[in-house]
C-alpha cells in the first residue's frame, strides 16, 4: 500500500469484521528514537493462539470470498522491510491489538498519507462505532473521540449526517495541521 493510513483503514476493516464496537487507533511518530508506530486495538472477537501464529501468512484467512488474506501479511512485509515488524496481542472473545513498528527514517517507509480521509471513511460508513484516534508527533498530540462528539452533538443526530461529516473533516484537518506545527510544519 502506498500510504500507512491505508494500512490503518485496512486494519480497522479487520476489527469491524470481528464485530468490534470500539476501535482505537494510535500513531506515534518519534523522530528522536527513529520510530514510527501504528496500533489498532479493538474489542472484537479476537483470535485463538493457534490461529494467530499463522495469521501473518497470506494463506491464513477466515474469508470465504477468496483463499488468501492480504491485509496483515502486506503490513508485516512493509514493516519488516523498514527494520520493524508486526506484533499481535489477542484474546478470544475479548479483542485484538495489532501493532506495527517502522524505522521512521527508512527509505522504504511509506508516508502516513491522508489519515483524515481514512478517518472520514471509517466514521461515515460506521457512525455507530466508538472510535478513538490518538496521534503523537514528538511532544504534540491530537485526540479525536467519537463519544465526545456524539455527546456534544446529541444522540438523536447521527454522525454520518452530511453537515456533521463536513464539520468533522474541518475539525480533523485543523487538528492534524496543528500537530505538524501549523504553517511552517512538515508533513510525514
Amino acid at each position: 500500500m502506498e500510504e500507512l493510513s491505508l494500512h490503518i483503514l485496512d486494519l480497522v476493516q479487520n476489527s469491524l469484521g470481528a464485530s468490534a464496537t470500539k476501535v482505537e487507533i494510535h500513531i506515534e511518530e518519534d523522530v528522536s528514537r527513529d520510530r514510527f508506530l501504528l496500533e489498532v486495538r479493538d474489542n472484537g472477537g479476537g483470535m485463538t493462539k493457534e490461529f494467530v501464529e499463522e495469521v501473518l501468512s497470506p494463506f491464513t484467512t477466515t474469508r470465504t470470498t477468496r483463499r488468501v488474506g492480504l491485509g496483515l501479511s502486506l503490513l508485516d512485509m512493509a514493516a519488516q522491510r523498514c527494520g520493524g515488524g508486526v506484533e499481535i496481542d489477542t484474546e478470544l472473545g475479548k479483542g485484538t491489538r495489532i501493532r506495527a513498528v517502522f524505522q521512521h527514517s527508512h527509505w522504504d517507509r511509506a508516508p502516513l498519507g491522508d489519515i483524515g480521509a481514512t478517518l472520514m471513511t471509517i466514521i461515515a460508513a460506521n457512525p455507530e462505532i466508538h472510535l478513538i484516534y490518538e496521534h503523537r508527533v514528538g511532544e504534540r498530540i491530537f485526540i479525536l473521540d467519537t463519544e465526545e462528539i456524539k455527546d456534544a452533538l446529541g444522540r438523536d443526530i447521527p454522525l454520518n449526517n452530511m453537515a456533521v461529516l463536513g464539520w468533522l473533516e474541518e475539525y480533523m484537518a485543523q487538528g492534524l495541521d496543528e500537530l505538524y506545527g501549523g504553517e511552517e510544519g512538515w508533513r510525514p
Binding site: L9, Q13, R66, V164
Partner: protein, 126 residues
C-alpha cells in the same frame, strides 16, 4: 467558510441539522463501497472521499456504507447504488473521476451508468 474548530460548534450545528432531519422523508438512497484489502489497494478510500464530497456539495443526504471483499477483487473499487424501490446496481473499477457522473445520473435520476456496470440485482433475488 467559517472556521469551525471546537466541540461547541456542534451545539450550533445541532440546531441546523435537527430542522433538516424533520424535512427528510421516504426511503433513503444507499451507496455501498467495497472496503476489503483488495478494494482499499485499488482506491476505494479515494472513491469514498469523492462520494462524500459530491454528496455534500449537492446537499444530498444519502446513506453511505461499506462492505468487505465480495470476491470480485480484480474489479475493485466496487460500489453499489440502490434507490428506494429500485434494483441495486454494482459498478466496478470506479475511479474518483466517475463519481460525479454516478451521482448526477444514477443517484439523482435513477439512470444507470451502463459503461461501469458489473452486476444488477433484481429485488426478488435478494
Amino acid at each position: 467558510m467559517a472556521t469551525l474548530k471546537n466541540l461547541d460548534d456542534l451545539r450550533k450545528l445541532r440546531e441546523e441539522v435537527k430542522g433538516e432531519l424533520q424535512e427528510r422523508f421516504g426511503g433513503e438512497i444507499k451507496i455501498i463501497v467495497g472496503m476489503g484489502t483488495c478494494g482499499i489497494a485499488a482506491g476505494a478510500r479515494e472513491v469514498m472521499t469523492e462520494i462524500l464530497k459530491e454528496l455534500r456539495t449537492r446537499n444530498i443526504n444519502a446513506l453511505v456504507t461499506q462492505t468487505g471483499c465480495i470476491g470480485m477483487c480484480e474489479r475493485e473499487p466496487l460500489i453499489d447504488i440502490e434507490r428506494p424501490g429500485e434494483r441495486r446496481v454494482t459498478y466496478g473499477r470506479v475511479t474518483p473521476k466517475d463519481v460525479k457522473r454516478l451521482i448526477a445520473e444514477h443517484v439523482l435520476h435513477g439512470r444507470v451508468v451502463e459503461d461501469l456496470v458489473v452486476a444488477r440485482f433484481d429485488e426478488e433475488e435478494e
